[in-house]
Amino acid sequence: FEDPPDLYEKTEFLLREWVSIINSPNNKEPPSKAFSMFVHQMNVQGILKTDDLITRFFRLSTSMVVELSYRLLSEQTVTTSGQIRLKIYHTLDAYVKLIAMLVKHSGDTQNTQTKINLLNKVLGIIAGVLLQDHESHHSDFQQLPYHRIFIMLFLELNSADPVLEAFNFQILTAFCHTLHILRPAKSPGFAYSWLELISHRVFIGRLLQITPQQKGWGLYAQLLMDLFKFLAPFLRNAELAKPVTFMYKGTLRVLLILLHDFPEFLCDYHYGFCDVVPPNCIQMRNLILSAFPRNMRLPDPFTPNLKVDMLQEIAHAPRVSPNFASMIQPLTFKKDLDSYLKARAPVTFLSELRSNLQVSNEPGVRYNISLLNALVLYVGTQAISFIRGKGLSPNMSTIAHSAHMDIFQNLAVDLDTEGRYLFLNAIANQLRYPNSHTHYFSCTLLYLFHEANTEAIQEQITRVLLERLIVNRPHPWGLLITFIEMIKNPTYKFWNHEFVHCAPEIEKLFESVARSCM
């Protein structure tokens, strides 16, 4: 509002001028020379006089290059698409060059704060123009101009340059914040470009590999959480519409890259991801849970007489992000939980447990899944420390007869089918590579199977494991060793159960698994 009267014309003139400088074929001037002359022109036009004018300049410029893109895209035909896009790229790339040079040269070389302030401002303006455009163009919204500006600006500011390198982490942070503002739930019309941006090879390289001390991991995890939260409602129902299938397959590709190149990243953040991935997304969740540290050698789960509790890694507690204990709300509930764990009192804690977890009577959405996931992991980790505190290590006998196991057994008995399914999933989500959580929860699941007072519980435990095993690979190591133990160890009398023989194909499946582990 209230742009100074001639600002639009000045901006248009300057932008046109700059684009022709950058794109003129016989422009032998190095961009830096052209740039300093151009900045002089901006000064003459008074653009750089105040912060407000600079902001207006960038908003107008962004709108202009976006409008030009829309105009050119509206003219494109199948045959001219290539040339049209090239024309759009030339203008957008020149605009990006201007932004990058202004960011790089604003303030003196040491003063990185001025530079990063300008970058945050410009990214914020572009995001603002995008959201406004997204709102007004609605289903005619075009991703291209914003996609190109963001990726080219990211590449420019991450090119090998000592000045930029000095504040690279702030540059990455600025982009991640902007992409969080533009997360798919906020601008679904930009979702495909957004996924392409966060999975660009340079973006992944910078955030997950080059940035030291894994400082980029938290930023990247946040963006993946945004992606899973957006996809969750669409993936929650098995039939996927084409646009969703496309997004889902794209997500699988990105997760495969992470599983292959950065498994430790998936290990650290598995909890947060599985908290938002819908429970019916079996394979995607298995993909996340299958990650294990590259320096770890996993013993073949089918090894006869594999002594899991003899593995040295089984005593190590894995890193888990985010802090799940803080997700146990409300505080009064957390207080009661802690006091029950400490003194098995108040006894009412167990009988009220289900009501604390249930949020509605609507089938399919009855329970607070996040709270249940946090509760299970919290009680389990408390149990491990409690057992360790007695100088013991978790096994089928040391995990029994404790406040922790009271809670788990109460949940197994007291919850309805839906609730128990979510509860068992929360446990199965901890069956990963050899570590203390995998070991404890594997014992817990087997203990619940053994101590179950109804066959329904045993059947449901089997279902939860089976549905994770029958999908295509990968399968988490902890899942395999738990299932193998359950069908192999006569203590569990697995083969005596009615449900094991409920249908020929089910029986055949169990037998094929049994054969592969002799």
Binding site: G82, R85, L86, Y89, H90, D93, H134, H138, S139, D140, F141, Q142, Q143, L144, H147, R148, I151, M152, L155, P184, A185, S187, P188, G189, F190, A191, Y192, S193, E196, L197, H200, F230, P233, F234, R236, N237, A238, A241, K242, P243, V244, F246, M247, P279, N280, P363, G364, V365, T417, E418, Y421
Partner: protein, 148 residues
């Protein structure tokens, strides 16, 4: 036992926008620097043509098996990329040297007549990218300051 859950209103809105965007997806070149030649864009070739890059085609060993002519093509038409870098390495393995003033690749045709601190002089073969052919040059002075 969770069964399907109907989409909430806000998710239906999101789906509409996503679906609209699905019909103008980004193309590969949207995320790449402008390539003067051979932009990264799929072109529908007959399905019996190779549709994916040959295995190991991004290794130096693969580039060393290419003809010199192919390496020159890659060097001059894929500049600023890993392909150009690999082509240059493969050319150097075949004793080609890049002249940074003429921006052409030279190869000794025989031992130079004269060698000193500044330059060497003799008969060379060089690749002329304007005429796109290899040519012989006798008595050429290759100044070391132009040796890349």
């Amino acid at each position: 036992p969770l069964g399907p859950v109907p989409l909430q209103k806000e998710h239906q809105m999101q789906f509409q926008m996503m679906e609209a965007a699905y019909y103008h997806m980004p193309v590969p070149s949207d995320s790449e620097k402008i390539r003067p030649y051979l932009p990264r864009n799929p072109f529908a070739t007959p399905s019996y043509y190779i549709q994916t890059p040959l295995p190991h085609s991004d290794t130096l060993e693969f580039f060393q098996r290419l003809s010199t002519e192919s390496l020159f093509f890659i060097f001059y038409y894929m500049e600023g990329t890993k392909a150009q870098y690999l082509a240059a390495k493969a050319l150097k393995k075949q004793s080609w040297r890049f002249h940074t003033k003429y921006m052409m690749w030279f190869q000794r045709h025989e031992e130079p007549k004269l060698i000193n601190e500044e330059y060497e002089q003799g008969t060379y073969i060089y690749f002329d990218y304007e005429k796109w052919s290899q040519r012989k040059k006798e008595g050429f002075i290759f100044e070391y300051k132009y040796l890349e």
